[in-house]
């Protein structure tokens, strides 16, 4: 290597030469750094907020997959169950609310609605619970880092969907 190249190289390394064993500092003066990682992130947000760049589409274009659909259903059923629990709690304290609920149920049973419609209504109440419980078990298994291969995710996903429907039907038909 020529003397000129060696001098140029030594100059470009600066004070902290990783070849020098005495220098134990992390070599962090990268060639094109514009500050720390946090600074780069801040610059990114500042720059993009002031330009008129559009955000690329996401929800409207991303293919619905079992992974994302079961996940959002878990969240939605969770919210439904929370709402139902609040309603149940309200029914215990608000005078006359419990009787009102019972009267509505009796009315529906005595009405002209066929048994299939009634079954569907009851399924709508039972399925969020069974789905959330079954998928919840799947989440607990995931928390131990097992069953997270793509094939397992899909197999358990279909299993949860099927078992939740079966259990909901069971509850609806058995609990009369």
């Amino acid at each position: 290597m020529s003397i000129i190249t060696r001098v140029a190289l030594r100059k470009s390394y600066g004070v902290c030469n990783p070849m020098n064993p005495a220098c134990s500092q992390v070599y962090n003066s990268a060639l094109k750094s514009t500050g720390s990682a946090q600074q780069q992130m801040d610059e990114f947000w500042a720059k993009n907020k002031e330009t008129n760049r559009p955000m690329s589409p996401h929800l409207t274009i991303y293919k619905p997959q079992l992974t994302s659909m079961l996940s959002i259903t878990h969240r939605a059923t969770g919210m439904m169950l929370a709402g139902a629990t609040c309603a149940f709690a309200a029914a215990t304290v608000i005078p006359g609310a419990a009787e009102c609920a019972l009267q509505t149920a009796n009315y529906l049973h005595g009405s002209m609605l066929g048994s299939l419609v009634l079954f569907d209504i009851k399924m709508c109440l039972a399925w969020p619970l069974t789905f959330h419980v079954c998928n919840g078990v799947r989440h607990l298994i995931w928390d131990s880092a097992s069953g997270l291969s793509l094939s397992s995710v899909y197999t358990t996903g279909w299993a949860v969907l099927l078992s939740s429907l079966v259990l909901a039907a069971l509850f609806t038909l058995v609990m009369q």
Partner: protein, 292 residues
């Protein structure tokens, strides 16, 4: 003409070996005879591609979808081949990133047919009645057409310090020995090409890309934490000890589904959560006195 020979090669790729001999003969003859494919021979596939020009004026300021028709008889099998063909022959202003054309550089990551993949690895769906929709990576600021602003993603990667760090100064300059078992722990992690397909498929990353690191970066954080040669395990875990960096992952698992290299970021994140849980409980059990 050279394009005639190119036609024969692309058709050969899809035909069986028995027929290939026959087709070679007939096509070589017809190629010279028919310099251009007739209307009937063309297999036209429609591509609907997201376009946006930062220098657009007036009513062109909003993003639009442009339709292009490509003759699959005269095109390579992958979506990137179609994009390059469109750029060469129909619309030179079509802008996209690309480099290796073999699925190793990660430049051509985009949303094809609703899922994030590498254009060079995504085979064109030969069903001509369906159009292939091509969008840039979801929920990213668009620089132009299919090019997203990746700087936040890179800055997040930089923030996890993806390099070997050792405290023992005497090790500098010496080879770091690693057992076969320890090296095997890195398999399935080091192969990441940082294409950002996984992170941009994660709805949680869509909503919190400022504070949530995303599956790609988290998998690399895990890669450095479990590297037996690295000595900053505790500090690397502490970097993740806030409500957003790691814990905005809700195990949606879109990431593993999207990875074009077949890696599993979701699993890496689950392992990270386990490590952080035991790390935190150890801290609670035996809290170290405040240093210096």
């Amino acid at each position: 003409m050279s394009s005639g020979l190119r036609i024969s090669r692309t058709v050969l790729r899809s035909s069986s070996p028995v027929l290939s001999l026959l087709t070679t003969q007939t096509l070589r003859c017809s190629a010279t005879a028919a310099a251009q494919t007739t209307e009937q021979n063309q297999r036209l596939k429609t591509f609907s591609i997201y376009r946006w020009n930062p220098e657009a004026e007036g009513d062109m300021k909003l993003p639009v979808m442009h339709k292009y028709q490509v003759d699959l008889n005269d095109c390579g099998p992958m979506v990137l081949d179609a994009l390059i063909k469109i750029k060469n022959e129909q619309d030179p202003t079509l802008t996209f990133r690309r480099s290796c054309r073999e699925g190793i550089c990660g430049s051509c990551a985009m949303n094809i047919g609703g899922t994030n993949t590498l254009a060079c690895l995504a085979r064109i769906d030969t069903n001509l009645s369906k159009k292939t929709k091509i969008y840039p990576l979801p929920h990213m600021y668009v620089v132009k057409d299919l090019v997203p602003d990746m700087n936040n993603f890179y800055a997040q990667y930089r923030s996890i310090e993806p390099f070997l760090k050792q405290k023992d100064a005497s090790k500098l300059g010496k080879e770091n020995f690693q057992s076969v078992a320890d090296r095997q722990k890195l398999d399935g992690l080091y192969e990441c090409i940082l294409c950002a397909c996984c992170s941009t498929s994660c709805p949680s990353y869509w909503w919190s890309s400022d504070k949530y690191l995303g599956p790609a970066v988290l998998m690399q954080a895990y890669r450095w934490i479990i590297d037996s040669r690295d000595e900053y395990q505790k500090e690397r875990l502490d970097r993740m000890n806030d409500p957003f960096s790691l814990y905005k992952c809700h195990t949606i698992m879109n990431c593993t589904k999207a990875c074009p290299k077949g890696l599993n970021p979701g699993l890496a994140i689950a392992e990270l959560k386990k490590m952080l849980a035991s790390h935190n409980s150890a801290e609670v059990a035996s809290p170290k006195p405040a240093a210096q």
